[in-house]
Amino acid sequence: MRLALLELRRRPSRFAGAATVLVLVAGLLVFLGGLADGLNANTDGALRIQSGDVVVFSAASQRSLPQSVVTAAEAQQVAAVPGVEAVGGIDLLQVGARLPGRGPRELVDVALFSFDIPLTDAVAPPPDGQVLADALLRERGVRLGTTMLLGPTRAPVVVAGFVTDSGYQGQGTLWGSRATFEAVRGEGRRADVLPRDAARVLVVRTAAGADAEAVARTIDATVGSTTTLTRAAAAAAVPDIGGAVFNALIGLTVLVGVIVVALFFILLTIERAALYGVLKAVGGRSRTLLAGVIAQATVLAALAGCLAVSAGVVTDAVLPPGGVPFELSPGRAVISVVLVLVAAMAGSTVSLRRIVRSDPASTIGRAT
């Protein structure tokens, strides 16, 4: 192992090709992961910032917030379930918002939510006619006190504050009282879409010490027409934006990394055939030599990973807000480094066959 690391230190040029590929692979993993996270960062925040412990969907909605309709009668049944402390509804309306000083066609997509139970950090519904805006909307020009005209009714709402990390499917959100919500939606649309007093979903706060999952099961068993999820599960049920595509690209990148690293290390192993013969002749074992190759690949991958993550951090810092949706989280950085390490180790292991086959007898001439 020490021998392999010495080679790496003293003959860095031999590993330049493999190192370059690993840096590119690591960089691609960080960039693709950052893009995926950036796109999905504002997907499920609306459910994550709920202070309730479980979220009740109508069973027919298949856990889709826009499809769900929970009636007032069902809400009453939920409220009566043991372990339930408070029940509140959430309604959702995705509309275009007009901002002062912008043209009539320059609409900003927003998701307007009504809520009853305060959000995390005890954020209660603001007075009627006012809304709390997701911080994401700052990038679109929304400021404290901005009056926005929402939807086809052009109902005015005034921004009374901001909440963070509350996006929904890539849109900035607005949070208001039921009355504000109704004013924006208009009476005609409600009758078409939702029965009076119904909500899209219910947010339930459980009693202290109650098991949220057990309460969820009891709610579904009692009501019979609901699907109740913990808050985290409800957030996870919000569909990703292009998540599958990015995951496929990340998988493909790892695969390409494995193949290219394997080729580089096979070439290096072929170059070192005579050296391996000498080392075997003095008692070196195949597994010792393979451990050296894997150690070299691991060190290169770790360095490449660190370089790529550093580049990712810089990219994250310099990209203007509202531009490319790139977000590098510590978790993503760790995953990217681990993936490039796995690719390098898997690729270098392919050299095993050649190392085992290197013949120490060949170092003292062809056996005759």
């Binding site: 020490r2 021998l3 010495l6 080679e7 003293r10 003959r11 005579a274 050296l275 000498v278 080392l279 075997k280 002749a281 003095v282 008692g283 070196g284 074992r285 010792t288 120490p360 007898a361 170092t363 003292i364 001439g365 062809r366 056996a367 005759t368």
Partner: protein, 227 residues
Amino acid sequence: MTAPALRLQSARKVYGRGETEVVALESADLTVDAGEIVALVGPSGSGKTTLCSIAGALLTPTSGTVEVAGTDLSTMSEPRRARFRQQGVGFVFQSASLVPFLTARENLLVVDEMGPRRRAAARRRADDLLAELGLADRARNLPGQLSGGQRQRVAIGRALMNQPALVLFDEPTSALDSRTGESVMQLIRSELRRRGTAAIVVTHDARVTAYCDRSIRISDGRLDAAS
């Protein structure tokens, strides 16, 4: 009574099967006593390398027996032979075959790196060997910074690192000019004598045989006359 450094009895090595079968070594009987230096002379393809590979635990004979310092290697598995090579035999190859990115001292310590680690003791031994071989001031030089003769001396040091009973030299002077070759052979002889280490020296060069206790000729896989 001390066991001979090497004893081959009816050692036979066959490569391939059926129509492609090649007999590389035919019923070889050879005993090399402790401290004895034997020259093995023969044309290319005569079986010299095969004999050395069997004596050095790199190959096992197809039939017959091979013992090095009393240890029977005939049926040893490769992992056990690798362990044996770590301590029982030394090799000096044609072109020195030093690890190019290691200093002279580190090339000697490779033997310790590949075998049971003795670290401090190995470092002391490497320093002693380099001093004895006149390379103390070259200990930190890479092979590329050494002359051909110096490289071969480092290779000799590496072969002696594990204090083997038998050292196998494969054309140790073929890559050297005649003067350097002679001085290397003198060094080999004096170092082996001083340690009582036996050796087989594979060579084409008749001048090399003068430094050996006896010569054995090999042709077509058969050991011929002794002199």
